[in-house]
Symmetry: C2
Subunit: 126 residues, 2 copies
């Protein structure tokens, strides 16, 4: 059974207050400087719960950090991420899904999962 604590709520809200992807540490720092005494481990736990429930989206940055974002459209989609400010656009790409499935099948591979993300610099930052 899952309980509702103010901590989880705080994480959920701090996350949706942001425009792009954030790391757990950043989010923790933000919460702390907003006056919340929340612990770092709790932020990590809350974020991976949210990601597991599909309420948040996660990806790895090029440096290997895990980044999270409040999920707008549920279901499978990909991202176009500004590598300067972190602003994110969700993109649908049925063509990619098909391509991945076809490519895997063509080589005798089963049960394909794919990682497709585009990092670029957005108009505001260039």
């Amino acid at each position: 059974m899952k309980r509702n604590t103010w901590q989880r709520t705080a994480v959920r809200e701090a996350l949706s207050a942001r425009d792009g992807f954030v790391s757990a540490q950043e989010l923790h720092t933000a919460l702390r400087s907003a006056g919340s005494p929340i612990g770092l481990a709790t932020v990590y736990r809350a974020l991976s719960d949210l990601a597991g429930e599909g309420d948040a989206d996660s990806l790895q940055s090029a440096e290997g950090e895990n980044l999270y974002r409040a999920c707008v459209s549920p279901g499978h989609h990909h991202h176009l991420i500004c590598r300067v400010c972190g602003r994110t656009v969700e993109i649908e790409a049925d063509a990619i899904e098909e391509w991945a499935a076809r490519t895997a099948a063509a080589h005798g591979f089963r049960d394909p999962q794919h990682v497709v993300d585009v990092f670029a610099v957005c108009d505001r930052c260039s």
Copy 2:
């Protein structure tokens, strides 16, 4: 100036002796059990040099580890990776390149880089 040491050669050879992606640690262990007294830091250095020169390909596993592979076809390409045995197929995908460029441009983003990899289970492992 760049020097040729037996350590770099050993890493290069150990890498091309493998069929799929390997982590720096795995490669180090392999070299050690083959009798080489090479150091871990050296393996890391050699691998990132190789990747920088385009002689090796690198990607991040789902767990955030950096994996390397001897590069067969130079130039830009993507991978289909068996998530059980690590066997890898290099795939060309001009369609993806175009799609990424078009998508970025459509949202006003510049200088797009993309991460496109497909993880699945190969015929031998399923």
